[in-house]
């Protein structure tokens, strides 16, 4: 089955190429944790993974005009991240260089995880989130998991569940909002 191709990414990338920082900000927030997770599997270190993730997005911002769209945007970002990870291994002075470079050259605000986000990346929190997703009304849970877990497009989900695309969009949104409320009330609040 055809996977969702994140069609909006290409439009956002074009905006970033024209200097639209908010479009960059959106893409960074969207992919930050994915890049981080990929790098963590490489470094096994939170600090290094987050540093490398930040460096990755700094490079994305600086080199976005070289992205030709031959691959998906995330694939390109991922490649940058992996190259940085290789340098991380080979450079003993990585941290020092990185800090100096970042202070002097950054002209864009690069995201970092805040406390509430970090509180989610814990086994207990993840367990609570997954349990809550399991308790969502069936219609919301199905739409949400088909999208997030299986990567299907709204159109494909609509065909499977026999619902209009607008309803799919609304169900996925409502599922996310429910999860977000649960996180705010049960996880972040109690952190």
């Amino acid at each position: 089955m055809k996977k969702n191709s994140n069609n909006n990414d290409s439009e956002l990338v074009e905006k970033v190429k024209k200097g639209n920082k908010m479009a960059f900000n959106f893409l960074m927030n969207k992919y930050y944790s994915r890049v981080y997770a990929s790098l963590f599997s490489f470094t096994k270190s939170h600090e290094d993974s987050e540093d490398l993730t930040q460096m990755t997005f700094l490079k994305v911002w600086q080199q976005i005009t070289t992205f030709r769209g031959d691959s998906a945007f995330f694939t390109w970002v991922y490649r940058i991240a992996i190259n940085l990870a290789k340098n991380y291994v080979s450079s003993a002075n990585f941290k020092k260089q990185k800090i100096n470079t970042s202070i002097e050259e950054a002209d864009i605000e690069i995201k970092s995880f805040d406390d509430s986000e970090l509180s989610l990346i814990h086994e207990q929190s993840l367990h609570k989130i997954r349990n809550f997703i399991g308790s969502l009304p069936e219609s919301l849970r199905t739409a949400f998991t088909l999208r997030e877990q299986d990567g299907l497009s709204y159109e494909e989900i609509g065909k499977i569940t026999n619902t209009p695309i607008g309803t799919v969009r609304s169900r996925i949104y409502r599922a996310r909002e429910s999860i977000l409320d649960h996180i705010n009330q049960e996880i972040i609040k109690n952190d």
């Binding site: 909006n8 905006k15 939170h46 600090e47 930040q54 970092s112 995880f113 814990h122």
Partner: protein
């Protein structure tokens, strides 16, 4: 708000109509709540899409018993060096270069000083913080504390007994410790000409101010060495 949140969700999924993207980006620019929502959407997705990887991360975090994630006190220099990078881009950055204050910072300070409402919004911690930084920059005696601290274990000696500056021959700085933490839970820094001002929260609800031509990692190392 519901409408924009639903559009944000659709844009996150790459399913928003092209002509609606700019509208969402504009809303996003003005709303920290939306930015946070977007980040958490991403983490939620990761939690069910990449279970194996995220569980490894979570396990590692659990083993560290939240040391890294707790509101800073930084346990070692490397962690500190990494952590300061995390904050470099997100702290309120005020460029006090050439003894002038950037327009944005000047406006913030002017607002805090001149507007009662703004003062209330800024709240005590930020107000004191601005005052503190202004003192560091404008009052040469402000950093001349009388209590010397032995920093030889991190390679610095007192270079000027009258002014109580510290140096290792290449880097020099002045240091003072506040018994208030200004509400800080992160390292913050400012550039002033060719010098840096670092405010590093340390144990006991205190903050170390380090002012001089010194790197971030060294400043953190110094702050970490101060125990008493």
């Amino acid at each position: 708000m519901t409408d924009i949140n639903e559009k944000l969700s659709a844009l996150y999924d790459g399913e928003l109509e092209k002509n609606e993207i700019d509208n969402v980006l504009r809303e996003l620019e003005n709303s920290n709540e939306l930015k946070k929502t977007l980040s958490i959407y991403s983490l939620i997705g990761l939690s069910i899409r990449d279970k194996q990887n995220i569980t490894h991360i979570a396990s590692a975090n659990l083993r560290k018993d939240n040391k890294i994630f707790s509101k800073l006190w930084l346990s070692n220099a490397l962690t500190a060096a990494a952590s300061i990078l995390l904050t470099l881009f997100v702290v309120n950055y005020a460029d006090f270069s050439r003894m002038n204050i950037s327009t944005e910072s000047a406006n913030k300070i002017a607002s805090a000083v001149n507007s009662k409402e703004a003062k209330e919004v800024v709240a005590n911690s930020n107000e004191f913080l601005v005052d503190h930084i202004m003192n560091v920059i404008n009052d040469p005696a402000f950093m001349d504390t009388k209590n010397t601290i032995d920093l030889r274990n991190v390679g610095y000696n007192i270079s000027d007994k009258q002014n109580l500056g510290y140096s290792n021959g290449r880097e020099s700085f002045k240091l003072r410790i506040e018994n208030s933490d200004f509400g800080l839970n992160r390292i913050r820094y400012w550039r002033h000409g060719n010098k840096m001002i670092y405010l590093v929260p340390i144990s006991g609800g205190r903050v170390v101010t380090i002012y001089g031509n010194i790197s971030a990692s060294k400043a953190i190392q110094i702050a970490n060495s101060i125990k008493q």
